[in-house]
């Protein structure tokens, strides 16, 4: 099922949580809503589900306007952050709940519900746990039951709120791969919310980066990482270093020296230069480069992070070097970013 969010605005008691958000989700796609807390990602998910009503704008399921439909009518599978499993029901009853509450002819027989429940338990690899209660399951198992329960109603869209938020790192990685497999097997249009960029970039077909109630950028993992379109995305996704610079004569300047980067398209004036710490070339002879004094050097896993003080204003910037690189021993290091982007200073 295609989902289209059209110019949606949502206010909570006059406080705007989302400003004019539009988003097209293709059928069968796995989409991540990524952003820091307070960015409105959960609000957007709840709006799609029908747990909240938009203040303005519309939400379409396929061609149909679903904005005024209740959550029951929308037929969405929602997996809650803390799973919200019914604690007084067994695993099988939890999964069968959505079928049991159907009316009239659409309600399957008790036997059929049981069969569906154990089928779904097989799918989420929890066969044999039908009779357990949620309190008797581990966090990862509860997560799987919650997903099975949401899928039992054959939802048009599957929505997951921080699906791995409450799990420890090991289980998280496992479940991530597993969710991808399930998605590929069932083909549900799936939207999940996360604040973990690694999770979003690894798992999703497309990532929606959100900040302060707006969508900053929508794209594949590669697009988001390689060509961030705003200072926020540059800073939020992956490591980045930023330096205040000046653009003049199509060249980028720091203080009174050009640094060997030409930017013929950029408007003249103050700007901020963004680059990835690992995406730099070290240079020996500095005619057109960024040079700085080593202020600190830290070993981070397989690389070494070197913090440099640049220019008279002692701006600090971080670059990444191979562990055994001789430059790490020097007191002065010169480099030039390989890939970079300029944003006009705010």
């Amino acid at each position: 099922m295609e989902v289209r969010v059209a110019n949606v605005r949502k206010e909570f008691e006059r406080f705007p949580a989302l400003h004019d958000v539009s988003l097209d989700i293709k059928s069968g796609e796995l989409i991540a809503l990524l952003g820091p807390s307070g960015s409105g990602k959960t609000t957007l998910l709840r709006l799609i589900a029908g747990l909240e009503r938009p203040t303005k704008g519309k939400i379409f399921f396929g061609e149909e306007d679903a904005s005024q439909k209740s959550i029951q009518e929308r037929n969405v599978g929602f997996v809650f952050q803390h799973y919200a499993l019914f604690r007084h029901m067994t695993v099988a009853d939890n999964i069968g709940f959505g079928l049991k509450v159907r009316h009239g002819a659409s309600r399957p027989s008790a036997q059929e519900i049981r069969r569906r429940a154990s089928e779904l338990l097989d799918l989420v690899q929890l066969s044999g746990l039908e009779k357990r209660y949620p309190a008797q399951l581990s966090g990862g198992q509860r997560q799987r039951v919650a997903l099975a329960r949401a899928m039992a109603i054959e939802p048009a869209v599957l929505l997951l709120d921080e699906p791995f938020g409450a799990l420890d790192a090991q289980v998280r990685r496992e479940l991530r791969r597993w969710l991808r497999d399930i998605h590929d097997a069932t083909g549900h249009t799936t939207v999940f919310v996360t604040h973990d960029q690694e999770e979003a970039l690894e798992l999703a077909d497309r990532v929606v980066v959100m900040s302060q109630g707006s969508i900053e950028q929508v794209g594949t993992a590669d697009e988001i990482y390689d060509t961030p379109n705003s200072p926020f995305v540059y800073g939020f996704i992956g490591e980045s270093s930023a330096l205040p610079v000046k653009v003049e004569d199509g060249q980028v300047w720091i203080a009174d020296r050009p640094i060997g980067l030409s930017a013929p398209q950029a408007p003249r004036g103050e700007a901020t230069l963004f680059f990835r710490p690992h995406d730099v070339d070290l240079v020996d002879e500095c005619n057109g480069c960024i040079a700085g004094t080593v202020a600190a050097s830290r070993r981070v896993a397989g690389t070494r992070r070197v913090e440099l003080e640049i220019g008279g204003e002692r701006q600090r910037v971080e670059i990444e070097l191979p562990v055994d690189h001789p430059a790490a021993q020097k007191t002065r290091v010169a480099f030039r970013p390989r890939r970079w982007k300029l944003f006009p200073a705010a």
């Binding site: 209740s70 929602f78 499993l85 309190a135």
Partner: protein, 294 residues
Amino acid sequence: MADPEIKSYALHHESQSAAVTESRPAKAVLMIVTFAFLGIFLLLPLIVVFNEAFAKGLSAYTEALTNPDTRSAIHLTLLVAAISVPLNIVFGVSAAWAIAKFEFKGKAFLTTLIDLPFSVSPVISGLVYVLLFGAQGLLGAWLKAHGIVILFAVPGIVLATIFVTFPFVARELIPLMQEQGNGDEEAALSLGANGWQAFWYVTLPNVKWGLLYGVLLCNARAMGEFGAVSVVSGHIRGLTNTMPLHVEILYNEYNAAAAFAVASLLAGLALVTLVLKTLLEMRYGAEIAATRGH
């Protein structure tokens, strides 16, 4: 959800650190004080009640209980409880639902208002009804004109009882529902349940133990209430006397054996309530802790 927490809770209690363990004499003193207090103020009166009730033998006891006035008092007490407890459940669940699940203006005020019967003397609660429904009262003339009798009759007693008991169920449920939040209900709705199904299959089972506690306490109070009921009842023998009122009348007539016989029934009710509560806790302790989430 609560399973590991229960274990850690138990663990914590078994292995208290040396730092918070009292010395032997201090322990002994604390325990003696507690038991002495319970003995003198709770156990002793209870023994006296049963002792006095049977002072003139078993036949006198049964005779006192089969007396028509006594039977009418028992009957009225059961009737009052049978009306006020279900109404209380409806009110308590609605009030708790409204306060725990919705945001609205005047919520804090409503919460305070629910506590009013606890903070006000029962006699005052009774007097309020006299002022409202009495012959000189606010609605007195209108009621008389329409031939409706509330004061010094069963409706007045029921109203007074509802007034003094209405916090019980609500007070038990509000913190429980607030703690549980809306998550489970939202989940039920997202799975296609309508509001009623969400309430019946999800909300109610989540609060059933709290509700049962509230009902037990509410019932005990409904049957035992004296002050408020005394003001509105008019003490008409065989008609508007509840058990507590009947105990007082018998006692004032120096019929101690009969008074204590009826009192022993009330004491028995208290004991049954207590035993039920304890049994529930023993049988479903883990589940109660789980639905309470701590």
